[in-house]
């Protein structure tokens, strides 16, 4: 489990992000003074499209410069000692390409050796094992160019997990995976993620609840909330109410209440609202979910009700 140059800590590791900011040349401010402390275990990043999740993850993954702020992996300055970070890193980007005329097995073997896994036997075994665990073993001799979207995504997972990474960053890893594959991936991640920091971004809010010990909600480059999922849900307990309404009344309701979400259910609209007190008016209390936390947080920043 030990690599020659990796930093071995007896206590648990921790990723500390402090005051991280980034503005793109086109003027978009992707990160605004982000400060987060990420402990070992699974960490979920939630946020709407364009919130800055990928920017944050790329910056941690040494692939992007920050304008200001620091990131430390324990004592290791991530923004400066990039190479040291890369030795301990497993990264699955949101979008990536592959060499079309290379097989999955060849490519993984190549990446394994770039990750310093040079022992021939070990290299073979780990590549085979990962291919099996992401269920690509049967297709290992096929050129990557022939892979479907889901297969390619699983290949991406396999490469990210090569070489006992201490810091695993996976950007929307389950996009394009069927539910079975998704479960398989989460099991794998849980198995590997006990002694490591895993940063996971996803749009499936409930996944964060089931998997992560910690999560953050980002919107417009800012961290809106950093919490434990269960606590966050508990915090809203008794403050979420639901009611079925007619479409025409929705505008009035939005003016009157803090509407979190609106869903169409058999021709009727089911409206969830947040309220510290009993709203009456036909609203009934309901169990809170992490999704409520999410919408509650970001509704202050953007209009999430779309019909």
């Amino acid at each position: 489990m030990q690599s020659i140059f990796s930093i071995q800590t007896l206590s648990t590791m921790q990723l500390t992000i402090n005051g991280l900011s980034k503005t793109y040349p086109n003027g978009v401010q992707a990160l605004k003074n982000v400060t987060l402390t990420i402990p070992q275990g699974m960490f979920g990043l939630l946020g709407p499209n364009g919130a800055g999740k990928s920017s944050l993850m790329r910056t941690i993954a040494t692939l992007q410069e920050a304008d200001s702020g620091t990131i430390f992996l324990d004592d290791l300055d991530v923004l400066i000692k990039k190479e040291e970070v890369r030795k301990q890193l497993g990264y699955l980007p949101q979008e990536f390409g592959v060499y079309p005329r290379v097989t999955a097995e060849q490519m993984l073997t190549h990446i394994a050796s770039l990750k310093g896994i040079n022992n021939g036997k070990q290299q073979k075994e780990i590549v085979a094992a990962l291919l099996q665990r992401v269920n690509l073993y049967k297709e290992r001799k096929k050129n990557l160019g022939t892979y479907s979207g889901g297969m390619k995504q699983r290949f991406g997972i396999a490469q990210a997990l090569l070489g006992n990474p201490k810091l695993i960053i996976v950007d929307e890893p389950t996009a394009g995976l069927d539910p079975a594959e998704r479960n398989r991936f989460y099991n794998l991640l849980s198995e590997l993620g006990t002694n490591t920091i895993v940063i996971l971004s996803t749009h499936i809010v409930e996944d964060v609840r089931t998997l992560c010990s910690d999560f953050a909600i980002i919107c417009n480059g800012e961290v809106l909330r950093h919490d434990n999922p269960d606590e966050a849900v508990n915090h809203l307990q008794g403050k979420i109410f639901v009611k079925s309404v007619d479409k025409s009344t929705i505008q009035n309701l939005k003016e009157e209440y803090e509407v979190i979400s609106v869903q169409m259910k058999s021709g009727q609209l089911s409206v969830r609202i947040y309220s510290d007190t009993e709203p009456g008016n036909g609203f009934v209390p309901t169990a809170s979910s992490l999704e409520d936390v999410y919408f509650h947080q970001i509704s202050s920043r953007m209009d999430v009700i779309t019909l």
Binding site: K87, I117, R133, N135, R184, L188, L192
Partner: protein
């Protein structure tokens, strides 16, 4: 549906900035070419003449191929690339609408962009003169049609051809990269066509095969005179029409084929492979696989291993790429063809010497390598990004340095392959051709020490560009632009200072005699200089190495500054120092030890020379009557120390008070006059060129005026002693500096000459005007000029002189000067040779020194004199010694018999390195270039034996030039050159038969017609000839033609009488062209007088044409042949304007049986009928009864007359 798609395409193109950029680029090309006068037009042709515009238009339509590929390649591919199929499928689009809509919509823009050049040309010719960028008299006034006619006639068809090929290929293959391959193959087709044009016989074929008509146009208009280029819109000739029909049919068929094969749905469908769903059971079984702990190791050893693995991947990525292989294959095809054919002289190939092969590899192969390196450097840098893998790749724990240098090393590996191919294929071809002197050291030095570093420099530059630009296509563009700009600046900017041009080296040439010789030093130092620079540049660029997501330039700058520490700083510091040090050293050599001058500086200085010194032109100077030379040659130092004693006499009627001596800049000498050391003043000095800023004072021109201590009265004699040193110091920017060499010295300097030399004046009128001089019309005075008649052409410092010399050289080398060897000895480890020329010769001398093998023979001529023959040659060049020898023997006998006895007792030929490719006839001594005859491969007996012929030509100069010395009047050069050319031709014909001469005569005619087409001033009549194409090519044609009319005997008698009255004449008047003309006239009957007037006093051209011929069997082996032909005669004025002339001239009509081979296996034609007919202009029909089966017939079948279109004179008999 068609209309919508068509309009969509138009709107799309209108929105693309590229559309405007392309147009602007071509507009600028046209504008700059015309406004700055950078066109191929010779001085008497307007820059905007119809011919010039047409020529440029065709060239640019070839360059438009790039635009065609960009515009026509994408309209279909766009839909694949952007996955627009999903909604395209949902519209009611028809195949025809889609295919033709996209095609025509894009093609409209190709057509519009295609006119960019023409609009630019119009604006350029309007603006250029008013700003003085181009002389106003070089821009003619023409209407709009002049600028657009070539576009409509030639441009559009080229654009259509390229467009339909590119469009169809993408439609058929769904692959946009196929365009690269198609471009390469079109390019190969073009090069192949260009290649065949070298052979006169294949030109008709080439005219049809060239897909872009470049060669067709060139060949169709190659004989256009300046007047024609200025006035005639280039017509759509039959050949051009045929060419267009062929290639447009090709385009049409390809497009139709593509259309019918095109399947709209299949085209847009993504490429997929069926993927088998794995069964559920297997999944369960796999899930158990355990992810075990692995050991990661990043020790330096492991890092090196990883690096090496990356290098291999980079290397194989290129090597295995099918497009790489396609391009390389193209290159290798050319390499092999170039190797196989190589240099030819008069259609005779040279043997495959390694020194030649090393030239051939640069003909075409180099260009393919350039394309490969340019293209694949970008591919390598952007490989990860192109596939999108970079986002994973860049987070892997491999340092920037290792990623980057692995790409560099991979590409260098490719370069090693590229330079090794010429070695392997060269040895193979040499073996196949039975040439076993492989000279591996030449291969290795050239390929791995000169070519490879050059390729590496290219890679360094490309990498730098791609790192900084960080966009693949923009990077390709910038890199290409840098190379093109450098080449344009060198060619048109009149500035070729190598220290300013990345990767450029001083020119050099391999020689068997001198090896790499004195070029090794500059090559080494300049390579080192650029290598240092390249490394500095690349290291700086490396700081900008982009990893992950591209940031703003500010951010990249910040990161680069952060990286500027440690190893990069050290590398930059060391290489910068190295660069500066080698730069200083190179500068010291080029601009301090030597005196670099750009061509414009040279022109300016030459003009100043004329303005300052012309007043001395007619200054009376003494004449040399005897010369005694002591010369010490130091080949290893490349210097010659000379002590010359000249006896001079005042042959004029005026007293001489001062001596004017001029010499080349590198001659340092002192003058002792009648025992007194004289001082001098230099009336002319130039400002040093700005680049030579370390040189102080003035650049003194080596023209000296010596005040004589006592006046040299008419008929008085004086003794001049010249102590001189000629030494080459260091190395120069460019040029061969070839006179004094380690081996193969051939030196004609060492003694200053008298007075002002008008031959050195600027001759180009345009350059003269630019430098404030009046135009210069004729070099020499008319034939009646008294001073001209009493002056010798080749050296006006003397009439005939006595000459003796003592030469010393390095042990092992042989030193040679005109004269008979008296003594040879060794002293102080040096070899000495004493030569005395016991009869008077011209003051036309050279000194030679080298390591030679000597071939000896002798011949006794009819007056009983025994002539010694000596051939000094390189030890490996013994192939054709007998051809030289036999030519000398035949010539000595025949010329002595026909024109008077040979004046010397020896004749020597000496080989010299191929820095020049001529042979030059000094008294009984002929230095003869290594590249000219020594290594020709004459295994095909039908080939013209030019070794024999050139040797005869040089030998003939011993009569025409050395016995009869031309005077310095207009046209007199024909006495030495035309007569040598004609008499050598006679000798060759005696040996090989008239059939063997045909090829030669055809080349001569081609040479004459081309010469007059590119005439930059005016064409003189033959008797006033002032150009090489007149006294060589036209001279041999018209004398050969004259012999045909009056007979060999009459012409030889005339020449003999002419020779007798002028041979070895010590006192003026000397022979002029009018003297020779008079003797020839005397022996020409009145009936032929028209021919003499036509050829000598006028410029006459025929237009003879075979139209048709048919034969009727008349029984008993007899046939009645009816020939239909036309004939016309023109007189041209000096600009090439023609007027039709009356004629009643003798012209051959010939009928031929099939060709056969004689007992020496020479091909021979078998004329059944060959008679002169007196013909008037017009179309004629003749019926002739002959015996034997006719095959071909024609008018003037041997091209004895000067015919505008020589190859339409013969045709088959039906």
């Amino acid at each position: 549906m068609f209309l919508q798609i068509f309009l969509f395409e138009l709107r799309y193109r209108l929105k693309r900035p590229a559309t405007y950029i392309y147009f602007l680029i071509f507009f600028l090309y046209g504008f700059i070419a015309l406004a700055s006068g950078s066109t191929p037009a010779s001085e008497k042709v307007f820059h905007n003449a119809p011919w010039t515009i047409a020529s440029a238009n065709i060239t640019f339509s070839l360059i438009m191929m790039l635009v065609c590929s960009a515009v026509m390649g994408v309209p279909l591919y766009r839909d694949i690339e952007h996955n627009t199929r999903n909604y395209l499928f949902s519209y009611p689009i028809t195949k025809a609408g889609y295919f033709w809509g996209r095609f025509l919509g894009s093609f409209v823009f190709v057509l519009i962009i295609g006119t960019g050049f023409n609009w630019g040309a119009i604006c350029g010719s309007a603006v250029g003169p008013s700003f003085g960028w181009v002389p106003a008299e070089r821009i003619g006034s023409y209407g709009l049609w002049n600028y657009f006619q070539p576009y409509f006639y030639f441009g559009i068809t080229n654009l259509l051809l390229a467009s339909s090929i590119f469009f169809s290929l993408v439609a058929l293959t769904r692959n946009v990269k196929v365009i690269y391959t198609a471009s390469i193959f079109l390019f190969i087709a073009y090069l192949l066509a260009a290649f065949l044009t070298a052979d006169l016989e294949k030109r008709e074929l080439v005219k049809l095969l060239d897909p872009f008509m470049l060669n067709t146009f060139d060949l169709e208009t190659r004989y256009y005179t300046p007047a024609e280029k200025n006035t005639m819109l280039v017509p759509f000739t039959k050949t051009i029409m045929l060419n267009r029909i062929i290639w447009l049919s090709v385009a049409f068929l390809i497009t139709l084929f593509a259309y019918f094969r095109f399947n709209f749905v299949r085209f847009l469908q993504p490429v997929t492979e069926k993927i088998k769903k794995s069964k559920k059971g297997e999944i369960e079984e796999n899930i158990q696989a355990k992810i075990t702990a692995v050991t990661q190791s990043f020790t330096p050893r492991e890092n090196r291993r990883i690096w090496w693995q990356l290098v291999k991947i980079e290397f194989l990525n290129v090597i295995k790429d099918p497009y790489f292989r396609a391009i390389l294959l193209g290159g290798v095809i050319f390499l092999v063809i170039d190797y196989w054919i190589g240099y030819t002289n008069y259609g005779v190939p040279d043997r495959p010497l390694t020194i030649f092969l090393m030239d051939y590899k640069n003909f075409n192969y180099q260009l393919f390598n350039f394309i490969i390196l340019l293209f694949y450097t970008g591919e390598a840098i952007h490989r990860e990004k192109t596939t999108g893998f970079h986002i994973i790749n860049d987070a892997l724990p491999v340092s920037n340095f290792r990623f980057f240098t692995s790409k560099l090393a991979g590409l260098i590996g490719v370069a090693v392959i590229l330079v090794s191919i010429p070695l392997v294929s060269g040895v193979l071809i040499q073996t196949l051709k039975g040439h076993t002197i492989y000279q591996l050291d030449v291969y290795l030095k050239e390929l791995y020490l000169i070519t490879l570093p050059g390729y590496i420099l290219m890679i360094l530059l490309s990498f730098t560009v791609h790192l900084i630009v960080n966009n693949k296509f923009a990077g390709h563009g910038v890199a290409l632009a840098i190379w093109i700009t450098m080449s344009m600046l060198r060619n048109f900017g009149e500035m070729d200072y190598n220290l300013f041009y990345y990767s450029y080296l001083p020119g050099y040439r391999w020689s068997d005699i001198n090896g790499l010789g004195h070029f090794a030093a500059p090559l080494f130092w300049f390579t080192l200089y650029w290598m240092f620079f390249g490394i500095v540049m690349l290291t700086l660029a490396f700081l900008f190495y982009q990893r992950g997501v591209t940031g703003s330039f500010k951010e990249r700058w910040r990161v680069a500054r952060q990286r500027l520490k440690g190893a990069p700083v050290i590398i930059i510091a060391i290489c910068l120092l190295g660069w500066i040090a080698t730069g200083a050293w190179n500068y010291y050599n080029v601009s301090v030890l030597n005196n670099y001058k750009s061509s414009s500086t040279n022109n300016r200085n030459t003009a100043l020379f004329e303005k300052t010194l012309k007043k001395y032109e007619n200054m009376v100077q003494p004449k040399v009557v005897s010369v005694k030379v002591n010369a010490d040659i130091y080949p290893d130092d490349r210097s010659i120390k000379m002590h010359s004693v000249l006896t001079v006499v005042n042959k004029s009627g005026e007293p001489i008070k001062e001596l004017h001596l001029s010499a080349s800049g590198d001659l340092k000498y002192t003058l002792v006059y009648n025992g007194k050391l004289l001082s001098y003043n230099s009336p002319l000095s130039f400002d040093h060129a700005a680049i030579n800023f370390l040189k102080s004072g003035k650049d003194t021109f080596n023209y000296r005026i010596y005040q004589l201590p006592e006046t040299l009265q008419p008929a008085d004699t004086a003794l001049m002693e010249v102590h001189s040193v000629t030494a080459y110091n260091g190395f120069v920017n460019n040029g061969f500096n070839r006179e004094i060499l380690y081996d193969g010295t051939f030196f004609s300097g060492g003694i200053p000459s008298f007075g002002y030399n008008a031959d050195s004046e600027l001759s180009s009128d345009e350059k003269r005007k630019k430098n404030g001089l009046k135009p210069k019309n004729d070099e020499y005075p008319p034939q009646s000029d008294v001073k001209g008649k009493s002056t010798m052409l080749f050296n006006d410092d003397a009439d005939l002189i006595q000459f003796e010399s003592t030469l010393s050289t390095k042990a092992g080398q042989i030193a040679i000067a005109p004269g008979y060897l008296q003594k040879q000895w060794t002293e102080n480890g040096r070899s000495y040779f004493q030569y005395i020329q016991d009869t008077k010769i011209q003051f036309f001398l050279s000194i030679i020194s080298g390591n030679f093998d000597v071939f000896k023979d002798s011949v006794t001529i009819s007056n009983g004199n025994k002539i010694k023959i000596e051939i000094y040659h390189h030890k490996n060049h013994k192939f054709n010694l007998q051809r030289f020898n036999i030519s000398l023997k035949d010539g000595l006998e025949y010329f002595s018999d026909s024109y008077g006895p040979y004046q010397f007792r020896q004749m020597r030929i000496i080989e010299f390195p191929r820095y020049e490719t001529f042979a030059q006839s000094f008294p009984n001594t002929v230095p003869y270039s290594e590249a000219f005859g020594w290594v020709g491969d004459f295994s095909d007996p039908d080939k013209f034996d030019y070794t024999y012929w050139v040797t005869a030509h040089e030998l003939a100069h011993q009569w025409w030039g050395h016995q009869v010395v031309p005077n310095k009047t207009r046209g007199s050069n024909l006495i030495s050159e035309s007569l040598a050319e004609y008499t050598a031709l006679l000798l060759s014909e005696r040996k090989y038969g008239a059939d063997n001469m045909k090829r030669f005569l055809k080349e001569e005619l081609d040479g004459y017609l081309r010469g007059r087409a590119s005439e930059s001033k005016k064409e003189n009549t033959y008797i006033n000839c002032n150009r090489a194409y007149q006294w060589y090519q036209k001279g041999s044609l018209i004398l050969y033609g004259l012999r045909d009319l009056i007979g060999e005997k009459a012409l030889n008698t005339a020449l003999r009488e002419f020779r007798d009255s002028f041979a070895l004449k010590e006192n003026p008047p000397f022979a002029g062209s009018d003297d020779l003309y008079r003797f020839i006239q005397k022996h020409t009957p009145d009936s032929i007088n028209y021919y003499l007037t036509d050829t000598w006093e006028k410029i006459t051209l025929y237009d003879n044409r075979f139209l048709s011929a048919s034969a009727k069997d008349a029984g008993n082996g007899y046939y009645d042949v009816t020939i239909n032909f036309s004939t016309k005669k023109f007189y041209a004025d000096s600009t090439g304007k023609e007027t039709e002339a009356m004629m009643n001239d003798y012209i051959d009509i010939g009928i031929f049986a099939a060709e056969s081979r004689n007992k020496e296996n020479l091909k021979q034609t078998n004329p059944l009928y060959l008679q002169k007919h007196k013909l008037t202009p017009g179309t004629k029909t003749l019926t002739i009864r002959i015996k034997g089966k006719p095959e071909k017939a024609g008018i003037d079948p041997y091209n004895k007359l000067i015919d505008r279109i020589p190859n339409d004179n013969i045709g088959g008999v039906d």
